[in-house]
Amino acid sequence: MNAAILLGKSPNLKPPSATVMRLLMLLDAPDADLDEVIAIVGRDAVLSAKLLAVCNSAGYGLAHPVASLDQAVLYVGFGEMHRLVMALSLGGTMAGALPGYDMVAGELWRHSLVTALLSPRVLARAGLPAAEGPIAYTAALVHDIGKTVIGQLPDPEAYAAIRRLVDERGHSLLEAEHAVLGCDHAEIGARLLQQWRLPEIIVEAVAAHHDPRPETGRLLASVVHVADALAHQCGASPGLDSFAVVHHESAISALQLTASDLEALSLEAVDCLEKARQQENLNHAASPARGSKGVA
């Protein structure tokens, strides 16, 4: 079976709306037009409400509540807007339970969010330009989106077979998926994002997040690879065989990270986990499908 066939079996995966894509493009542009951003946000009631909620949350500590959209956009800034829009448009798709990976509702989303929050920090430690932050954030946020396809297949035997290969033969999760399904979650995710017309650089990074090959000169996959490992380590990764993953030294050396950089980053991972939990609380009202299990 190949990725296209598997994707065809998941009809409920909806791409982000045209509004969202337009907004993301605008927010990424260096000379984004503030008025246009405000106009687009204003047409989306949920996004407007969320933005005001974030602005008025304790984290911003404003003396007077912000009530107007243009003020809100200015306060949170485009970077935070980008995160908010991504979270709103993908949170629904990635928040469900994934029986195939033994993940309850909300767990994949939490892992994705922690990896996304960590990526710009990995980028910074590696001394790469901070301007790449939003791209790294987005790539990290969607790196496991292929798991939403595999994890919802109505095929318990395939899961059992994947699990046996990992437990008894020492395969990595990726190898086992490939052996049983003919493709893996990285490949399916990349194909899905390609169908959704996300930028090629993100599609590439998602495809390569378990095999980053930094020698190609593209370091985004390496950044996601390292952030993913750090998120797993701090426990933002329940689910089947979440440690049955090969980690590549080449990614770390290409990013010129030392052992103490990695330890410092794993402390930052805890901060990211806490931040992700706060965002979950903020999102609670908008997405009813939440897991009851907390990660600590």
Binding site: G170, Q233, V270, K293
Partner: protein
């Protein structure tokens, strides 16, 4: 001798029994308690380690969820959150259970977590280093490790039941495994 452990009351409209309490310990946190009706839990230990202490006579227990072996990498963090690190969190927990009446030679110690990735070069070998840090520290202080469930490539959720000292683990696909 200690009082007998109350049996779990069957819940029905005719029985008024307190709901069992559950305390949750986050990453880099520690909690001790002498409330025999409670359970202390920590969720998804990845490469982090969970250490449980239990004195069956005083019925005092504790749980530490440490993330890194050695606090010297960040003095600032260690001062702010000593339980983030094995070397500062473990002594803190021992002192906390002593303060509640636990006696050192009766304390039962269990160690859980320290999952590892598959890479052969062990670049991300924090799991093993965490486990080693606990074992070395216990050995240096002459404390016996009663049981452990470490390494592997799964994250583990653990519960310490303070009535009995029993430690149970929830693993992907398997819930309530007794250690």
């Amino acid at each position: 001798m200690s009082a007998p452990v109350p049996a779990a009351a069957p819940r029905s409209p005719w029985v008024a029994a307190p709901k069992p309490k559950a305390f949750v310990v986050g990453v880099g946190e520690m909690l001790v308690s002498n409330d025999a009706s409670a359970r202390i839990a920590t969720y998804s230990l990845g490469s982090c380690v969970g250490v449980t202490l239990y004195d069956p006579v005083a019925r005092v227990g504790g749980l530490l969820h440490a993330m890194l072996p050695d606090s010297t990498i960040s003095a600032e963090r260690a001062a702010e959150r000593p339980n983030m690190f094995v070397d500062s969190g473990l002594p803190t927990m021992f002192h906390a259970v002593y303060a509640l009446g636990a006696v050192r030679h009766r304390i039962v110690v269990k160690l859980i977590g320290g999952a590892e990735f598959l890479d052969e070069k062990k670049i991300f070998n924090i799991g093993q280093r965490n486990v080693d840090a606990v074992i070395v520290m216990l050995a240096r202080n002459g404390v016996k490790l009663e049981a452990r469930a470490t390494g592997g490539h799964e994250s583990r959720t653990i519960h310490l039941h303070l009535a009995t000292g029993q430690v149970t683990m929830d693993l992907p696909g398997r819930k309530g495994v007794t250690l």
